[in-house]
Symmetry: C2
Subunit: 618 residues, 2 copies
Amino acid sequence: VLSATLVGNAFANEELTALSADAKNWAMPTGDYANHRYSKLNQITKDNVKDLQVKWTFSTGVLRGHEGGPLVIGDVMYVHTPFPNNVYALDLNNDGKILWKYEPRQDPNVIGIMCCDTVNRGVAYGDGKIILNQADTTVVALDAKTGKVVWSVKNGEHIDGSKAESSTGAPMVVKDKVLIGISGAEYGVRGWMAAYNLKDGKLAWKAYSTGPDTEMLVDPEKTTHLGKPIGPDSGIKTWEGEEWKTGGGTTWGWYSYDPKLNLIYYGTANPGSWNPVQRPGDNRWSMTLMARDVDTGMAKWFYQMTPHDEWDYDGVNENILVDAMQINGQPRDVLVHFDRNGFAYTLDRATGELLVAKKYDPTVNWATEVVMDPASDQYGRPQVVAKYSTEQNGEDVNSTGVCPAALGTKDQQPAAYSPKTGLFYVPTNHVCMDYEPYKVSYTAGQAYVGATVSMYPTPESHGGMGNFIAWDAAKGEIVWSKPEKFSVWSGALVTDGDVVFYGTLEGYIVAVNMEGKELYRFKTPSGIIGNINTYEHGGKQYIAVLSGVGGWAGIGLAGGLLSPENAAAWHGAVDQGRQQGDEAQVVGTAGLGAVGGYAGLAEYTTLGGQLTVFGLPD
Amino acid sequence: VLSATLVGNAFANEELTALSADAKNWAMPTGDYANHRYSKLNQITKDNVKDLQVKWTFSTGVLRGHEGGPLVIGDVMYVHTPFPNNVYALDLNNDGKILWKYEPRQDPNVIGIMCCDTVNRGVAYGDGKIILNQADTTVVALDAKTGKVVWSVKNGEHIDGSKAESSTGAPMVVKDKVLIGISGAEYGVRGWMAAYNLKDGKLAWKAYSTGPDTEMLVDPEKTTHLGKPIGPDSGIKTWEGEEWKTGGGTTWGWYSYDPKLNLIYYGTANPGSWNPVQRPGDNRWSMTLMARDVDTGMAKWFYQMTPHDEWDYDGVNENILVDAMQINGQPRDVLVHFDRNGFAYTLDRATGELLVAKKYDPTVNWATEVVMDPASDQYGRPQVVAKYSTEQNGEDVNSTGVCPAALGTKDQQPAAYSPKTGLFYVPTNHVCMDYEPYKVSYTAGQAYVGATVSMYPTPESHGGMGNFIAWDAAKGEIVWSKPEKFSVWSGALVTDGDVVFYGTLEGYIVAVNMEGKELYRFKTPSGIIGNINTYEHGGKQYIAVLSGVGGWAGIGLAGGLLSPENAAAWHGAVDQGRQQGDEAQVVGTAGLGAVGGYAGLAEYTTLGGQLTVFGLPD
Ligand SMILES: O=C(O)c1cc(C(=O)O)c2c(n1)C(=O)C(=O)c1cc(C(=O)O)[nH]c1-2
Ligand SMILES: O=C(O)c1cc(C(=O)O)c2c(n1)C(=O)C(=O)c1cc(C(=O)O)[nH]c1-2
């Protein structure tokens, strides 16, 4: 008899499943298919973590925002960089000697159409290949041993000058396929998820986030939303006119996979244009969690967190899969999702049933609650507070004091889950905004934004722009919260040694115990927006992290937008001629509003691109 | 009665002398006026250096070759970068928080006329100001407290398109002046040394290396060469026609100062054009050590190490001043100079008398010896071996197997001197070359090279491209020699803890004991070409070093010249149309011959720009 797990393995990519089950490796960008970012390694413990030392370091040779983290498979570490997306294979047996490097050639024009820095969230491994998702949407499979190109395919069709499609997401290898998303919702890109054959790079399926049912790979009768069929042409009817064609709903975040259900999970980004007045309707299926059959791409269920977005609360954050979570006395196989909109959702991942939806920052104010009564016509919908409704306030009106800011209570920085504590460890933002939508017109290849945003630390709070929290997803409660000066833009790691790690925008790697007490802090060369991981080599546990300030929060530094000239040029490219006030406002509202909010970061760190590997004293 | 030392202090810049006498600081790029790079700090010793840990790190935000090192004055560290020559003031009391940063705007065209990477060897301190010598030859004085510009002056006249003057050297503050050199001997720049008033940046004096006596600030009767007056117009008569006008002799290396004698010391670079056939004569005063009165610039004595250079053996390396060295039973106040040409010279620094001239790598083969008999007409001259004479072999003939290569047995990487052992600790190259001179014509602003060079590890030796050696300058003997895989392109540091530190091109910081036994090795993010220094803060000794591979040895990586296209473009700009053979030759001979020789470096490191600070465990 095959156990459930073995059946799962048999269906999944067995090699990869086995590699990632061995805690010595860090074989997937997400650690495992469930996105736990939990490691069974326990040499480094809450008691000895204070003794951590830097063991070795590696400069990536590239500056700007370094998201994601290295893979470790056996004796080799694979390190990726932001644009131009170089990949290095480093020999762990030989002080990180470079076994091979891959330096793609890409049209640098793609830099200009990347909304939130030239980031890349990592390479994936499968079947002896390293899969790289380049900024210019080229997907390349490299021979893991030699770095030679095995196949190469173009996922997006066009960059600058036509459709402004770009890519930043980490691929996920599942079974015989590679899952790849797309970026560009700030440019009116109509998002999709694609699956390519791992073997030869041939397109297996492609599922759009908006548009006709056939192109969305939905069955209007069988694909459900909150338990009900979505009905025909939902991706067209919930938009005015042809707005769905520039409908956003890109897929630049993290993906998960449940081998038992054979479903993949991911979220879609904001609807095209940040001016809600311009696109009446629920704008389906932007801002939506999607569960799809990995073989066919057919959608099982959707859940739209923020219908008709008015704040840029992309729904792309990771979905963490937990089995048998006790909810109201029942064990449920769930998916936990910390949305940009400030609500943390727990759903039944087989059916998409909404189990919990609670604020994971009490200062979230744009909505009062998510309605949990299935009988209500508001079921599953956030209850918007009129004062903070940028749509109700209308075009050319500045809605002030909206919490969270556009970059959400959490953005791409992934949380970690410990099966030992049953808790989630969540890097968060603690930032509010003013948001003024205005009319824009769509031109292919150009920015399609239509809002002026400024950001600032949550008023009347601790003054900082972030918290690192522990969350109980069954109850929907914050267990503890540790304030940070800036948003925690790095991904967390939790280990069997009862330590939680995260990085800060100033560049500190921080270790805390299960009660949130700080145990260790070390300043790496540049701000950390990478995801911390761990591996074992030669019998010793290591902690690895990429430094390199950037991402949306760090775009002022990474994109040079703290300079008034560059900020003005940025507005020139984005604002369609709208006046932006004095120099301070021009700088403050550049980078989609992040530059002013995070300007203080320039006192703590500067651009970098380094790997730092920590270990215990010998 | 004033002691000699106090008289010295009174004449020198008292504040700076006091600051650099306090071992807690590292107040000058050279450590002290004598260029000892020796520290009295002794918490870190030969016994505990093995326990060193990385204490903090800082990314400079800039890639390519990071030469020089940070200054430490009290609670503030000043970090500089290669082009664009940013300067950071970091708060040592606050985890390296950025107190201020200065980001100059420079014409990026200067990058194209920097022969040997976009390096900068450091900022100087004096009178509350930080002096920055920018690539574009702008010299800026910044308020050390605020980073605000106090004064700014242009040292060179022109960059790209006219005279191709650039700058890389570290300024030296002496008394009320700032000494500043110039780069560009590969572009026919006529070199000079300039002194600017520390107070307001006004030019105090300017002394050319070639040309009329008045412009050279020499007295034909009083300025001596090997004890004899140099005679009138030596800087013109030793050249054919007007070649002295494009005569090189730039001053991009290190400077020293003797407060008692009130003399500054520095060397001049190669004569313009690497094709010796084109410039008959001794080409004075290229390749020359110069002793000048700091107040007036008037030359006291010269010593030309390599008359009529045929190999690009620039004479710019540091001059290390040692008092009362016992030579043949006599105490002599000497200057010790490890020349590119492979000879280490000990001279009386008051008179320029030649005391010792010996090979500091036994494989040096281009000359048999330097004649030491004052009665000989060859006195002080190296005896050239015909086989390795690129002049005698003639234009369009490839002289093979010349040792050392053009980058010398030592290049800019400064040695250290321990008064405790009386020995010099010297980072060296162990590289030979093939050199084929060819006819070139001078065009202002364009490369004026005229030789194709390839480099390789010294044949029939240990296979590596470098050694780290201990040298007895009284006897002219190697005491010990430690082989290294690549040239040791970083500056050394020796301490009262009986430890010598250096960095390697692979990125290791290495500590050895006084017998050359390795005690500690740690791999920093990128290749080290910076100079290691030490300071004390909060009662603890630290070791600081900049990583960032580049310089001439690392130009393949730093300038991207390992790519055939870029290598071909490099030749296009430098070779005046000469054919360079197949792709391998085009790459190998790019970067003035360094690219092929150091190609293997790409397996060990990649571009970076990081400060790493080490200390003992708490
Ligand atoms: O809508 C999109 O297509 C898109 C793409 C990206 C991206 O690819 O990085 C981001 C966003 N949106 C976005 O809304 C956002 O907050 C964001 C943050 C970051 C980052 O890496 O820090 N990227 C992105
Ligand atoms: O003749 C010159 O003007 C000049 C300038 C420089 C420089 O400014 O860096 C170098 C050289 N020459 C040179 O010959 C040389 O070997 C060299 C090495 C380096 C370096 O920083 O690694 N610079 C220079």
